[in-house]
C-alpha cells in the first residue's frame, strides 16, 4: 500500500511537472518607446500641369514645420497627433510675379489674409518594414487651405537611420475641392489636380510616456 501510494505521488508529481513544462509561457509585452518629434525645415514641392502642352508649373517651400508623437515597439511604428504647416509666403515658383498671382488666387481669403497651409491627423497606421527597412504610414486627417479644412490622406515612407527618421510622401490636392478656381496667367490655365511631394527628417525627441501595447 505504502509503495503504491509513493508511486502514485511520484506519478502525480511527474505528471504535474510534465504538464507544467508543456504549458505556454505567460506573454512578455514589449516596452513601447514614445517620443515627441519636431520637424523643422522640411520641404514641400508641388507640380501642376496646365492646358498648354509641355508647360507645368512647379514650386517649392523649404519651410515645412510640424510635430508628431512617435510610438515605437520593436520594429512596429505608429504616429499620433500629427501637425504640419507651411507658410504661404514661403512657397515660390521662381517668378515673383507668379508667386504673387498664386498667393492671391489660391491662398488668399476674402478678407485679404493668407493663412498657413495646415495638415492635422490623429494617427497614422504603419505597415511592417519592407526589405529596404522602409515603413509606410498612411496619415489620414484634414488639410486646410485658405482656412478651409477638407479630408486629406497621404502615404508616408519612413526610413530610420540611427536616431533619425527620414520621411517622404506623395499626395495630390484637387483645387475645386476647396472652392478654388483654376488660376490662369498669361493665357495658361492650371489643371485642377496639384501633385505634392514632402520630404523631411525627424530626430526622435525626449520620451513623453512609456506604456505597454497588448498583443
Amino acid at each position: 500500500m505504502k509503495c503504491i501510494s509513493s508511486a502514485l505521488v511520484f506519478v502525480g508529481l511527474s505528471a504535474g511537472a510534465l504538464v507544467a513544462a508543456q504549458a505556454p509561457a505567460a506573454p512578455q509585452t514589449p516596452a513601447v518607446e514614445a517620443a515627441s518629434a519636431d520637424v523643422r525645415g522640411g520641404s514641400v514641392t508641388f507640380d501642376v500641369g496646365t492646358n498648354v502642352f509641355a508647360i507645368n508649373v512647379r514650386g517649392a517651400s523649404g519651410a515645412l514645420n510640424g510635430r508628431a508623437r512617435v510610438l515605437q515597439s520593436g520594429d512596429a511604428l505608429r504616429l499620433e497627433d500629427i501637425e504640419a504647416a507651411v507658410a504661404v509666403e514661403s512657397l515660390r515658383t521662381g517668378l515673383k510675379l507668379r508667386d504673387g498671382h498664386m498667393r492671391k488666387y489660391i491662398f488668399q481669403t476674402p478678407d485679404g489674409k493668407a493663412p498657413d497651409v495646415r495638415f492635422s491627423a490623429k494617427s497614422a497606421e504603419c505597415s511592417p518594414a519592407d526589405a529596404s527597412r522602409a515603413v509606410t504610414c498612411v496619415a489620414s486627417g484634414e488639410l486646410a487651405i485658405r482656412g478651409t479644412a477638407k479630408p486629406f490622406s497621404i502615404p508616408l515612407k519612413v526610413v530610420r537611420t540611427g536616431d533619425e527618421f527620414r520621411v517622404s510622401g506623395d499626395g495630390a490636392v484637387v483645387l475645386s475641392t476647396y472652392g478654388i478656381d483654376r488660376p490662369s496667367q498669361f493665357g495658361v490655365k492650371t489643371n485642377d489636380e496639384v501633385k505634392l511631394h514632402l520630404e523631411f527628417s525627424v530626430k526622435s525627441g525626449p520620451p513623453v510616456s512609456a506604456s505597454t501595447v497588448p498583443r
Binding site: 502642352f53 509641355a54 515658383t93 517668378l95 510675379l97 490662369s184 496667367q185 498669361f186 493665357g187
Partner: protein, 377 residues
C-alpha cells in the same frame, strides 16, 4: 462661328494699326540684326523646352503670349499686366511681333571706341495650327570717332511657315536658323567662321519637331538660301538634334549631328549638349562638337568647338553669365574666348547689357561692350 469671325475682324483691326506703327519705327532706324535673345537658362525654372515661350520649337525668335508674360515678369518693375489672368480660349487668330533697337558701344583698349545700331522686326501671324514667321533686320555701319567700317545693310533674315497638326509636333518650311542643342545659334556662331565659313547661317530648310515631357527631337534637311557669297558655298545637308529631359525638367542632355555637301567642302559634324538648372538661380549650358571638313583641294580638317556657360540669376531682372568658348583646328590654330556678361532688365521694353570678350589666339584681344536695347511688343 460668328464669334470666331468677330475675333478675326477685331484682331485684324488691331493688327493693321500695329503694323503701321511698327513699320514706321523700323524704317526710321538704321541698325544691324539684333542678336537672338533666347534664354536657354530658363531651364532653371523648369522650362526644359523652348516651345513653352517661343513660337518656334527650336527657341529664339518671337515669343508667344505666355513667353511675353514670362519675359515681362523677369524685369525690375514687374507688375502684373492688365488681363494677365484671362485665358486665351480656342483657336484664335494671333499677331505676335516684336521690334528691337540696340545701341552697342564696343571699346578695345588698344583701339577706338566703336558704335553700332541694330534693329530688327520679327512677327508671327496665324493660329494655333498654322503660322507664318518673318524677321527683318537693318544694320548700321560700325562707327568710330575717326572712321567708319562696313556699310549699312538690311534684309530679311527669317521667313518660314510652321504647321502644328497636333500638340508636340510641328513642321517648318522656309528660311530659319538651323536647330542647335542650346536653342540659341548665337552661342556657337563664332566657330562657324572657321568650321562652316561662308555658308548661310539661315538656309532654306524643311524641319520636323517632335517633343513630349521626356524627349525633344528635331530633324532637318536644308539647302542654299541664294545669298551665299559664291555658288561654291551653297551647302546642302541633313541633320538632327535629340534631347532627353532628365531630373524633373531641370536637365536636358542630347546629341547633335549634321552632314552636308558643297562645292567648296563636305562637312560632317557631331556633338553633345547639356542644359542644366542646378537651382533657380544657378546653372550650366554647354555644347561641344567635332567637325570634319574635306575641302575641294583634298585637304582634310578637323575642328573641335564648344561653348560652356555658367549662369547665375540672383533676381529675375539681373542675369549674369560667364561663357568660355573654344575652337581648335587639328594641326592648326586654336582660339579661346572668355566672355562675362551682366544683363539688367529694367522694364519689359528696356534692358542694359554689360559684357566683355577676351580672345586668346595668335594675337590676343579684348573688347568691353555696353548695349542698350529698346523693344516694343
Amino acid at each position: 462661328m460668328k464669334s470666331a469671325v468677330r475675333n478675326v475682324r477685331a484682331a485684324l483691326t488691331i493688327a493693321s494699326r500695329r503694323v503701321a506703327h511698327v513699320t514706321a519705327l523700323a524704317i526710321l532706324v538704321l541698325a544691324a540684326a539684333a542678336p537672338a535673345a533666347a534664354y536657354p537658362n530658363m531651364i532653371r525654372l523648369h522650362y526644359p523646352t523652348c516651345v513653352s515661350c517661343h513660337v518656334s520649337p527650336q527657341g529664339g525668335g518671337v515669343l508667344n503670349k505666355y513667353g511675353k508674360g514670362i519675359d515681362f515678369a523677369l524685369t525690375l518693375r514687374a507688375d502684373e499686366p492688365e488681363g494677365a489672368e484671362l485665358q486665351q480660349e480656342g483657336d484664335v487668330f494671333r499677331f505676335l511681333y516684336d521690334t528691337r533697337a540696340t545701341l552697342g558701344v564696343d571699346r578695345d583698349p588698344k583701339g577706338e571706341t566703336e558704335y553700332g545700331l541694330n534693329t530688327s522686326f520679327r512677327t508671327a501671324v496665324g493660329n494655333e495650327k498654322n503660322q507664318v514667321v518673318y524677321a527683318f533686320a537693318v544694320r548700321s555701319p560700325t562707327l568710330a570717332r575717326t572712321r567708319r567700317t562696313g556699310a549699312a545693310s538690311m534684309g530679311m533674315s527669317r521667313l518660314y511657315w510652321m504647321y502644328q497638326p497636333t500638340k508636340g509636333l510641328a513642321f517648318v518650311v522656309g528660311r530659319d536658323d538651323l536647330p542647335t542643342g542650346l536653342g540659341s545659334g548665337g552661342m556657337t556662331s563664332f566657330a562657324r567662321r572657321v568650321n562652316n565659313p561662308n555658308v548661310s547661317s539661315a538656309p532654306t530648310q524643311v524641319k520636323l519637331f517632335w517633343w513630349n515631357t521626356r524627349w525633344q527631337v528635331a530633324t532637318y534637311a536644308y539647302g542654299p538660301d541664294g545669298l551665299e557669297t559664291a555658288p561654291q558655298y551653297e551647302g546642302r545637308g541633313v541633320g538632327g538634334v535629340a534631347g532627353l529631359n532628365l531630373w524633373k525638367d531641370r536637365a536636358v542632355v542630347g546629341l547633335t549631328a549634321r552632314v552636308s555637301k558643297a562645292d567648296a567642302f563636305d562637312r560632317q559634324n557631331a556633338g553633345l549638349f547639356v542644359r542644366l538648372g542646378l537651382t533657380e538661380q544657378l546653372g550650366l549650358l554647354a555644347e561641344h562638337d567635332v567637325t570634319r571638313r574635306e575641302l575641294n583641294t583634298g585637304i582634310r580638317q578637323t575642328h573641335v568647338a564648344g561653348h560652356a556657360e555658367v549662369f547665375y540669376v540672383p533676381a529675375g531682372w539681373l542675369q549674369t553669365a560667364l561663357a568660355i568658348q573654344h575652337l581648335n583646328t587639328t594641326g592648326g590654330a586654336s582660339t579661346y574666348r572668355l566672355s562675362p556678361s551682366v544683363e539688367v532688365r529694367l522694364t519689359g521694353n528696356l534692358r542694359l547689357v554689360f559684357s566683355s570678350r577676351h580672345v586668346y589666339e595668335a594675337v590676343d584681344s579684348r573688347v568691353y561692350s555696353v548695349g542698350l536695347q529698346v523693344k516694343a511688343q
